[in-house]
Amino acid sequence: MLTGVSEAVYYILAAIIIGSGVMVVSMKNIFHSALFLVLCFFGVAGIYILLSAEFIAAVQVLIYVGAITILMIFAIMLTARLYSAQIKQSNEQVVPGLIIVSALLVITIFALSKTTWKLSSQAPETQTVAEIGKLLMTTYVLPFEIVSVVLLSALIGAIVIARRD
């Protein structure tokens, strides 16, 4: 249960996330969108901390903010000159999209409100990093290895695909 400061932090973070998320999908300039995406990722990292998942938060910042967003920006720069007309982007079928999305949203929130979760009242683990490392090397070693292979093949695949030939 979070109270007090945490509650305020949550709302701020939520506002940042939602606001920047909306900006990401609505900005005309794709480069600006990418910057708002960074902001959004930071917000999400904050939420992780709030949820006492510090390691995830760190990973979030490292990978999303540090790697993926930079990758995006590189891609934008490789595919279009900045400030050119090409960089402008538009949204289409906004109205039906909004309808669908809001319907989905309403339904989901309605469903959430109707659902009762088996909540646990235990205190959360504090030594998460060590615990996560232990789990990854023991219980989840196989998925871990598979993921690493997937990552490797994705890298090679990306190189193959993007290679000029």
Partner: protein, 642 residues
Amino acid sequence: MLSFAWIIPLLPLLAFITIVFFTRRNQKLSSLISIGAICLSWIFSVIVIASVLKNPVPSEFEFTWLNLMGFQVKMGILIDSLTAIMLFVVCTVSSLVHIYSVGYMQGDPRFSRFFSFLSLFSFSMLGLVLANNFVEIFVFWELVGLTSYLLIGFWFEKKTASDAGKKAFITTRTGDLGFIVGILILTTAAGTFNFREMFHAVETGQIPFGILTLGAIFLFAGAVGKSAQFPLHVWLPDAMEGPTPVSALIHAATMVAAGVYLVARTMTIYLAAPNAALVVASIGCITAFMAASIGLVQNDIKRVLAYSTISQLGYMIMVLGLGGYTAGTFHLYTHAFFKALLFLGAGSVIHATQTNDIWEMGGLYPKMKITAITFIIASLSIAGIFPLSGFWSKDEILTVASHYPNPIFLIVGILVAGMTAFYMFRLCFVTFFGKPRDQHKFEHAHESPKVMTVPLMILAFLSVFAGWVGIPWLQHGYGSFVFHQEPHHAEPNYILMIVSTLVALSGIYLAYAMYYKKSISPEKLKAKFPFPYKVLYNKYYFDELYQIIIINPIMKLSGFLFNRVDVGVVDRLVNGAGNFTVFLSDVKEWFDSHIVDGAVNGIASLARGTGSGLRRIQTGQLQNYAFVIFFGLVLIILFKLS
């Protein structure tokens, strides 16, 4: 005992085969083989006649040739007095003509072929005489026709000769048409081909009278064709285009007598069918008169003789129709000799002068005495001057005619005798006496070689004496040898003898007056009676008539049938059917492509239309698809929740 008689026709056949296959190149050998064969046959024929004289019972030998259920043909030989006489006549004339031909055909490039054909003819003719049934006689009948065709057209380079051969074959075959039908009718009714079995059936009345008459008349058609009787006589004068020995042998003495022989052979049938017999007599009578009258004005020596032959054959046919079996065959027998002599004599003249036209001859007597004398003997004989053979046979005929209630036959007979005497002596006087008309030809003329004149002399001898076997005063003469049913002992009818002799003499005198003494001018007569002369000269326009009413229509018909019917209608129908099928298939094609395929294609194009409408949904925009996916998701959740 007489079974050896089959050798008689076989010898010439062997000669024919030998010449064709082996000795063709050696002319002399070929002619010797041919002559040898026929002479040997002659010896056999003499033996036959001697043994028949001794024992006149007809003898028959046969073997089965073809045997099927309900159809049995035997081949065999029938020897009776008629056969024996005919064998003798054919062999005699044939061998003399063979010998004569050696001289006449000297130098011809196809000398061997000529003799091979002569041999083939002798074979066929002898076979015909010996035949004992209708199939056999028909077989040889046709073979005789073939050899006649080949020999008439022997000098086939001449168009007239090959035309004449064709005409002869087709005309006689037209008669044979009747012959076949007659055979069909009679043999079907009697159930046999054999002569004697059929005669037996006729005599016992097994064949209905109507059928018998019809069959007899059809049968007679064959005789009409072969013996050149009216109305199928037109081929014989043209047949004179053949070499003269051929004319003598085939178209005077033997083959043309086959028709007479046939009627004589089937006498029983005609006696049983008096109506048919009357037809026979009438045809003979008409022919005799008509041919004699044409003979009066012809200028070609061989044509005159040809018409004379037709006329004399008509005589024989007439008397056979009147029931004069003995008289008819007797005249056949005597006629063969003097007519052959006349032709051979004419041949000798033609050989000497290289022309057929009597008006280019004249005064030949001193140059060719033997020919002239023998020719005159023959003329006397045919004119019926006492006591030559012709006199006796003609007398017999007139006697028979005088017994017939209607005097027309007798009158015509006497008239024809007069005309015969006239035209024969017209020929004699113009050819042998008077002044030579063509000096060049006259100088060129010469007596023929011995090989030709000896046969002439032998025939002259026979022309005089052969008839003596039938002198009416004889007790065992011709009449008691060749007879039908009962021996016919001719009684001398002195009035007739005198009348006929007088008529003949006046005919000769008329010829003498017109063409030797020139006391009566033939030119004036011609001018006086232009129309009869023209008609006679043009042979009553028979050829033209046939051309117009038979040949032209048939040719037109055949052209019409081919061009209009076959190509124009039948074939066009076939092609039309083909084209119609093609048209139908076109229609079907249209139907298929528009209706049947239309339905199929319609369904397809409906699907395609729908598809091409629906494909607009396929924008290719992944986001549109995603939109639909989420739309569906919302719907599913809503559905689940409700």
